[in-house]
């Protein structure tokens, strides 16, 4: 019972910090510039890994899907069958998984080292609210970045699937693209982008909370990074399921 209470209390504190900081950041005049800077910096860091992770994932998915449709002699439905899963699950899921590992580590480490080096106190002493500048902008930047990377991830996974379906399994290129877009609905794209935004918000809340509450020196930073990454990854997978449950 006390474990549940402490988990709920930590979740509430995360939510409160992220919400208060994001609102303060949104109200500050330099919000747009800072968020754009953060998003660009994190985006460049995550772009390569997203492409390099999603392309093999898309290819592996197509490889196993081909084995299944080949057994029933219905290869023509391969692109039709994989399109919704690529859009609704693989692209947003693995994009946020990559963000959880890369962006969350980076943000938690950055804020934790600012905290332990007393830079956050210095910001406060200068009359600047550190929650708006340090926390809020990072949370918002993840909310902006996740759907943008999702688009890149989608093309990357589709590229991996194309490689298997067209280059290896000799499905005509035109059949592949027509099949891929034939079953594509606006709802799926909106759902995928919305899911990324929600997961981006959750990831931002988690990593900024652990960074902002880091204590001690090097070991405190280590703990902040580890907790942030673990909780972020677990949150991506569990929230993904519950979002599907709620919206599908």
């Amino acid at each position: 019972m006390s474990l549940v209470a402490s988990v709920l209390s930590a979740a509430w504190q995360m939510f409160r910090l992220a919400a208060a900081s994001s609102i303060k950041a949104l109200l500050s005049p330099s919000c747009l510039r800072l968020c754009a800077q953060q998003s660009a910096s994190l985006g460049f860091k995550c772009l390569g890994p997203v492409v390099l992770i999603l392309a093999p994932v898309g290819a592996m998915f197509a490889l196993q899907a081909y084995a299944l449709v080949h057994a029933f002699d219905i290869e023509r439905i391969l692109p039709i069958g994989i399109a919704p899963v690529l859009i609704r699950e693989i692209a947003p899921g693995f994009t946020c998984f990559t963000l959880a590992m890369l962006a969350c580590t980076s943000i938690a480490a950055e804020i934790a080292s600012m905290k332990t080096n007393r830079e956050i106190e210095a910001t406060l002493a200068m009359g600047i609210d550190p929650r708006a500048v340090v926390v809020g902008t990072r949370v918002l930047s993840l909310v902006i970045l996740a759907p943008l990377l999702n688009v890149v991830a989608l093309f990357s996974a589709a590229g991996g699937s194309y490689f298997i379906a067209v280059t290896v399994k000799q499905i005509p290129s035109e059949t592949f693209w027509v099949g891929l877009f034939q079953n594509l609905r606006v709802y799926d794209v909106v759902f995928s982008e919305l899911k990324c935004m929600v997961l981006g918000l959750l990831l931002g809340a988690i990593c900024t909370y652990f960074g902002y509450n880091a204590q001690g020196n090097i070991n405190g930073i280590r703990r902040a990074i580890n907790w942030s990454v673990n909780l972020s990854v677990a949150t991506v997978f569990s929230s993904n399921y519950f979002i599907n449950l709620a919206l599908c």
């Binding site: 093999p56 290819a59 490889l63 084995a67 299944l68 439905i77 290896v168 090097i218 930073i221 997978f237």
Partner: protein, 243 residues
Amino acid sequence: MLTFLRHTGLATFAALFQSPFWAFSQCVWRLLIYSLPITAVIAFFSGAVLLTHAVSALALVGGGPVSGYIVALGGVRELFPLLAASALACRAGGEISSELAALKLGQQLEAVEGMGVNSYRLLVGPRVLACMVGSALLVPISDVIGLCSAYWVGVYQLSIDPGNMQESLLIWLRFSDLAVGMLKGFLFGWLVGIISTYEGVHAKGGANGIGQAASRAVVRSMIAGYLLSFALSYAIYGNSSLG
């Protein structure tokens, strides 16, 4: 990097024979304890999501009740091993690299070398070996949890007949699929061990260096692992069908 690989290879080999069994098993145990909860969470929810999508995809051709095939094939062959190894990369990889980075930046690695102890044999070799063994052990655990969650969601959430569900989950599953998954886990674990220890031992630049080392270790081992996994899948399943 080549010098590091040579030292690490020797140290890992030495850890097989020279490291006391209890020290090595403690290392594997610690790694499993660290990674198991997150692996369980990931496998549980992935199995559930995979089945939900399989049901909706196969509903197009009236094959909802046989959707367990997709979980058995896609999950056991690809997704569960990959996610178990990813969990190890993010939990144990991050932990190992940040631990070694903290030792390096606190000049404790130099102190160990100064005492005449080979730091590779003491700190690197057992960790790489533990990652390999731990990752291979996490894969079947992840498979079981994923399949159970798919069964649970199929039967209790989607109201599929329990007998159909059980049959569709298990009928095309081969021991070779489980073995390939474990092989993938073993090799992915080797990559996680090598990359995490390398990043930890070569950390630079004060407190920020720890975060950078952990972040680089996790991402690089993930990318290398996914590419390796694809190469293995292509080599093994590229020309095969379900059997």
